[in-house]
Structure formats: C-alpha cells, structure tokens
C-alpha cells in the first residue's frame, strides 16, 4: 500500500502536536510495511529530501509569498501540489492522507487529479480554537467543512472531537473514525541526571519543580497557571515554575508573571528540542496542562510516559486520556484555585503521586503505542480501498 501524507509541519518544523503525530504515524506505518511519502513545507537547514526510518520526506519551499495569511496558504498549497505531481509520476499512490485544513487545497486537488481516495485527519477546528469572528475564520471554517466533505473518511483523535466535528459539520457519525494520538515510548527511555537538568534552569534538588510544556497561545490556558503561582508558592515556598514553549502570547504571559510579584520563580525557556523537553519532564515534580480547549493533548501522554504526575484541565481529549486520581489529576479549566489544589494534591502526597505515575505509564503502554494506532489506521485505509 502506498500513501501520500500531506502535512504543513513535520520535524524539524515542529510547532504543535501535528508534526509529532505525523512523524509517529508515518514511522509506525512504515514498520507495518506501508510505503509512506510525506510531503511537507521546508524548514531552514532541513534537506529537501530524506528517508528516515523507511519514510520518504519531501520538503517544499514556496517560491512565491504574500503577506496575507490566507493568500500565503493558497500559494504554498500550489507548491505542495506541484511536488506531488512530480512524486506521483514515480509512485503509484493508493490514497492521500492529509492533516488539517492547511494542506486541504492541495490534498483535494490531488485526490481529483490522481482519482484516489482522500483521508483527512482533523486535529482541531477553527470554531473550537478561536471561534468564528472574522472573514478569515469563516473561510478557514469553510475549508474545514470542505475537507470533511471531500474525504472518504475523517479521522479525529478523541471522542470529544468526533462529537465536535460531526455536530459542527453535520457529518454522518459513521464517516468519522476516532484514532487517538500515539507516543514513541522508546524516546523516553533515556537516562536523565535530574540534578544536572534542574541545575541548568536554576532549580535545586530540594525545590519543587512545576512544569508546563506547550505553545504559548490562549487555548492552552497558561495564564491560569501563572495566576496560581502565588497560591502554590504560599504553600510551597520552595516551588519553581518552568514554562517551556513559544507562542505569540509570550510577552503578555511574561508581564503577567511580573505582576504576580513571583517572577523570580518562573522561567520561560522558549522552544526547546524534544530531548530537552523529555529531560525536563523526567526531572519535574508535576506537569500542569491548564488548557481551555484541547482536541487531544499529546503532552499528557508525554508526561505520563516520562513518569511525572499530570495535572490537567478536564476538557476535550484530556478528559478521555486521564482518569481522575488514577492516572492523573483533573482540575477545572480557567480556574487558578482548582489548579493550585491539583498541584497541592500531588505534591503533598508523594506516595499517591508515585501510584498515579505507575498507573499512567501502564495505560500509555496499553492504549497509545504508535504500533496500535498505525494498525487501526491501516484498517481505515483498507476499508476505504475496499480491501
């Protein structure tokens, strides 16, 4: 089986969860014998073509730009489409698998010129991310609907997303398949010197390290973590906070941190490579995921695999990954008091925290290995191909 996978981000072009999802899925599919070509956008320093773990990766540089976002999207899709026209001459693709609306214009065009079925994974929706308030957001929403209309099957990563997508785009329930995100467990099997890792960020071994990892954008709710810092610090005067990630909200969050009077406790690292994020998770006392909208929440799986107690908002996919007080701790979204309670619940009872971590690790191994997810994806491919 030959699959052309289209995604606008693929490592080292990593922004959110899509790059990691596509990489994990493509590699696991290749292990199952599926021939996967990934066509994606370039990133400075990354080769135009490479083969990694059996996956062929083609990176495309759009030769024409435009300051307007939507115009730029249409332009880069033209260059993706042109690349696929070239690879399709050599490869007889059985199907096209696209990830999110950003590559839908090229994916839908390729579907029609190759006359092959289209599978679309919808990782999130414009309506869920930020609501529909502007002409651009209505256009994106329409593109998302069009993607689901053109696709033979739509894949989502959680049941909450299935409800959201079926409800918002009026799709038949049976057209949408739920296949969760996965995690490369082996990547986390690295020895970590906790003292050294903490030392790099000015956290001593006897201090409590509370970690956030993710984009710095409103849907992630990082402001509620920052608002909870004084409450947590009053109970744990030795608490330190590390906020890992990049995003347009960073300036605002840094000034919010300043306003708490506890800025010295909070470190903003910006983007860090995967191995450093894993080292931090393995060195932290708690991982907080304060999202207000989270279609899946891959960072929860990462924390559960790394062996750090996870404290997460009970929203979207997070509500399906975690079992309260068994594999993690739920908090109310948009609620700093609840967040502070969750952190205290974990820090005040190390034995219980250890039990949560053990349960979480077992659950990840059972349900979220890429091998299991790739097998399920192949079943969907086969159903679409009539095999």
């Amino acid at each position: 089986m030959k699959v052309c996978m289209l995604t606008w981000e693929y490592p080292p072009r990593i922004v959110g969860g899509i790059a990691r999802h596509c990489e994990g899925l493509a590699k696991a599919l290749a292990k199952l014998g599926v021939d996967v070509d990934v066509v994606t956008l370039d990133f400075p320093g990354a080769p135009e073509y490479e083969e990694i773990d059996g996956v062929k990766v083609y990176r495309v540089r759009p030769e024409i730009g435009h300051p307007n976002f939507l115009t730029w999207v249409m332009l880069f899709n033209h260059f993706l489409e042109k690349k696929i026209a070239g690879t399709a001459e050599r490869e007889n693709y059985d199907l096209i698998h696209i990830h999110d609306w950003l590559v839908a214009p090229s994916g839908v065009a390729v579907k029609h010129f190759l006359k092959k079925p289209l599978i679309a994974t919808i990782h999130s929706t414009e309506n869920g991310r930020s609501g529909l308030h502007t002409p651009d957001s209505y256009t994106i929403d329409s593109w998302e609907w069009w993607t689901t209309y053109e696709a033979s099957k739509v894949i989502v990563t959680s049941n909450s997303m299935k409800h959201e997508v079926c409800g918002h785009f009026h799709l038949p329930w049976e057209k949408v398949e739920m296949v969760p995100n996965g995690i490369e467990i082996e990547k986390f099997n690295i020895p970590v010197d906790r003292v050294a890792v903490r030392g790099r960020y000015g956290v001593s071994p006897n201090e409590k390290l509370i970690l956030y990892v993710g984009r710095l954008v409103p849907q992630k709710g990082v402001e509620y973590l920052i608002q909870a810092v004084p409450m947590i610090a009053s109970r744990y005067p030795n608490a330190k906070f590390i906020i890992v990630g990049e995003g347009w909200l960073r300036d605002y969050l840094e000034s919010l941190a300043q306003s708490t009077g506890q800025r010295w406790r909070i470190t903003f690292t910006g983007f860090v490579p995967d191995h450093e994020a894993i080292a931090l998770m393995k060195s932290a006392d708690a991982l907080v995921i304060p999202s207000v909208y989270e279609p899946f929440g891959i960072v929860a799986l990462e924390g559960m695999t790394a062996g750090v107690p996870v404290i997460a908002s009970q929203v979207g996919g997070l509500a399906e990954i975690i079992e309260h007080d068994k594999t993690g701790v739920f908090i109310y979204p948009r609620n700093p008091e609840s967040l502070a309670w969750g952190v205290d619940h974990v820090l005040s009872n190390p034995g219980h925290a250890e039990w949560l971590v053990k349960n979480a690790h077992e659950k990840v191994k059972e349900m979220f290995s890429w091998n299991v997810i790739a097998e399920r994806t192949v079943e969907i491919y086969k159903s679409v191909l009539g095999e």
Binding site: P67, V217, E246, W248
Partner: protein
C-alpha cells in the same frame, strides 16, 4: 490558539513578523531589504525600522549584509513564533 482569523488582534510587531514570514523571508538567502519589505507590505520604512529593531532585540529576526545593504529574515525562533499562530 489565535488562529489566522485573529491575526488582527496581535501586537503590531507580530503582525509585521507574520507578514515577513509569509513573503518568504525565512533564510539569509531569502532575506529582504527595508525597501523591499516596504513594497511587499505597504508599510512606511520608518515603521518597518521600529518593528525590525524590536524583533531583532527579541531574537525573532536577524540581519545580514548583502552588497552593502542590510537584509532581514526570521530566525528559527521567529518562524516558530509565527507558526504557533497558525497551527
């Protein structure tokens, strides 16, 4: 996330960073002079200079000299900053 649709609610220098990214100024080989940026974005060169100074300070933009002219492009961190809006 702020998606594309909310770009207008961004601080001015980030809207400018997005424009610089979207016109393709993402490597030293594809960097743009202030005059070129002005043509692409319809912004005054004085405004562009202010944005660039601030974005360079924040580590999101770098300049290179090409034939005695200063040209500007996004750093990796700048690219990730922009993409965080859109993903």
């Amino acid at each position: 996330m702020v998606s594309s649709g909310s770009e207008s609610s961004l601080p001015e220098e980030f809207r400018f960073l997005c424009m610089l990214h979207n016109i393709g100024a993402t490597t030293p080989e594809h960097s743009f002079s202030i005059e070129e940026i002005a043509k692409w974005t319809s912004l005054e060169t004085s405004v562009i200079r202010v944005h660039l100074r601030r974005l360079i300070e924040m580590g999101y933009v770098e300049s290179t000299k090409v034939n005695e002219t200063d040209k500007y492009h996004l750093t990796h961190s700048g690219i990730r900053k922009v993409l965080s809006l859109y993903s």
